[in-house]
Amino acid sequence: MNTIEKQCPITANHIKVALVGQPNVGKSMLINSVSNAHLHVGNFSGVTVDKTEVLFDYKKYHFTVVDLPGTYAFTDYTIEERVTHDYLCAEDYDIIINVVDSTNLEKNLQLTSELLTMSKKVIIALNMSDEAEKENIIIDAEYMSELIGVPCIKVSAATKMGIANLIDAVVMKHESSKNRPKLVFSEPVEEEIAQIVWYLDKHKFQSENSYRNIAINLLKNNKRTYEELHDEPIWTELQPILIEASKHIELHHDSDDVKEAFAEEYASFNRGVVAEVVKQESVKEKKTLTEKIDNILIHPIFGIPIFLFFMWALFQLTFEIGAIPMDYIDSFFIWLGDTIGATIANDDIRSMIVDGVIAGVGAVVLFVPNIIILFIGIALLESTGYMSRVAFLLDGFFHKFGLHGQSFIPLVTGFGCSIPAYMSARILKNDRDRLLTLFIIGFMSCGARLPVYVLFAGAFFSPDMAGNILFFIYVSGAMLGLIAAKVLKLTAFKGVDEPFVMEMPKYRLPSVKLIWHTVLTKTMMYLKKAGTFIAGAAMLVWFLSNYPHNLTLQQEYASKIEMAVSESEKMHLQNKLDEALLEQSYLGSIGKFSEPIFEPLGFDWKMSVALQTGLAAKEVVVSTLGVLYALGSDVDQESNSLVTAISENISFASAIAFIVVIMIYLPCLAASIVFTREAGHIKYFFYLFFFTSVTAYVMAFIAYHITLLIV
């Protein structure tokens, strides 16, 4: 759970607000617009999967707003819905803001009706008013407040319209008494309610909730209300009344399911409300814009090729545009190293700063432009509404591999970073589907692996091919993931298929500001990691690769170098010395020790070490290579860029095998921790470790030998 801290005077009044609503109605965006928070916003159901508290001050009040995952009905169908359900039932809060989508009121009010039977103060925020206006939907908010008995405020999270009114209304409601919602049911149901109310009244039953609400909840088979009353003395008499009442209602609705009966009751009430308060000036076009776009984008034949084209274009851009500032960043860090190096007298410290920290961090920062473009691509996919379309297109295909169509959402998130991807797997209802998805998220190469790919693609392929190679790497990673899913589905996660029912949001043109914030937040996180974790790791790698000092070796070479006649011979000897020193360092010993394991894949000890340090974070692979090749083989000062060093020191086949391992093996430490938490047991981590390591090893072995044969 994230908390955004803000100081507040102790004297201020506290109001705790829970934001509840169906998915994708703009709850998170509404919080962003009332505070200065930057909660994740996206145009698909299930963006928010965990509760998040945001604090802010307004006038003399101190607010705590809780963003909850969207929920279609007041149930616990998926984990994220359970978060909301449990929060509303068990936690302490003062008031509910029920956020609804003004352009789709009838459906949204279904949840509202359920909220109104809780003993809580409720305010309705009619969000997306700007969109409603564009669609010529006019809502009479005052009349609506009167009809339902709950304040209804028009707002727009996007244009910040009505936000102040909303907060004022919250304050006012907070000061005043509970609302008496005016939910009206059909006559037979009202009769049953009246009877139970009469009964409760007769026995002067003590309760916080109104008798009417208790009666409704009992008739609806609400578990909690049942539990509460179950131990009361009146229960024995109440139970037969309830059974009788349920029978009547079921009979009336010609259904054997009270929940369904109540859904119908709510629906007809809401239809009535909407008919009264909503005026749609019908300039009725036959097709909405969304449907027109969908005609192309989810076309049964062209849909998937179009998606593949978008992906290809994204990676093309990632490489092409990302390469432009690379030289500048590279020369900046060389300049930085030289400048700072010149001010440090002590050899060891200078080497640690220049060859360790600056080389390591520089190697990672070099790829920021690529990362930014990838993040922009993902942000567009998330915020336009295209995400759900691709899930729709690929569901049939995914299904063949034993995956759920909605797995697509965590999987795509995985291209950015595995951590939020593991979290968003919560949108999958079934534990088996969720675990399966968790296991293959790692196959979707995350942003941190991009640097490794760009580095190797740049080192071994011509610039106009590199983008295609990048695309190919990502697609083959995803394909491997699908195959892995199939294998797991047939072995570890056998079971029946879960239903796939998903809402397709309307297309929205994301604001530049939204994209900017999303990308900025993620990029800053990447840079912060480079400046802290990666810098620390680079320092450690530097230390391990410089110590212990070996004086005899140094003296031996020193005398040799002195005796050397030509400059080039001196240079050559110096390089040999560096290499020898590196090999007998701690890191060299580790590398040498593990070399036999990686030998069959064609890795030298430096690559082996880089893979091992990469278990901490994938960026460390690059920074380690940066440090190791900066120390070892400064062949000539002209071309000390890492790309050149890589292409000179690593064979093509080894490089391919290396990429394959990076594609498949365990994600970083932080992601592994989140994985374990989400999977629910440490044993799953060991399964994952075993599964990915073996797969990575086998695949890399095959790739290495095939490449050797071909080239």
Partner: protein, 75 residues
Amino acid sequence: MKTLKDCEKACRVKVLKLNTKGDLKQRLISFGIMKEAILEVLEHAPAKSTIEVKIGKMRIALRAQEAQLIEVEKI
């Protein structure tokens, strides 16, 4: 008996019955797919494995298997 699965693109139908129980039924109902609801088939995914329907102003994707559980009549 005609189910949603058998419907062609652009066909409009009324829901007669949901032949399912438990969670899936709850979910369908919370989407508004219940007795008397009017649905319109918007699109089929490749191989008709998944279909997109419109209910009210909402678009919903569901698999053929699920669509098969929704009994409908053409209007």
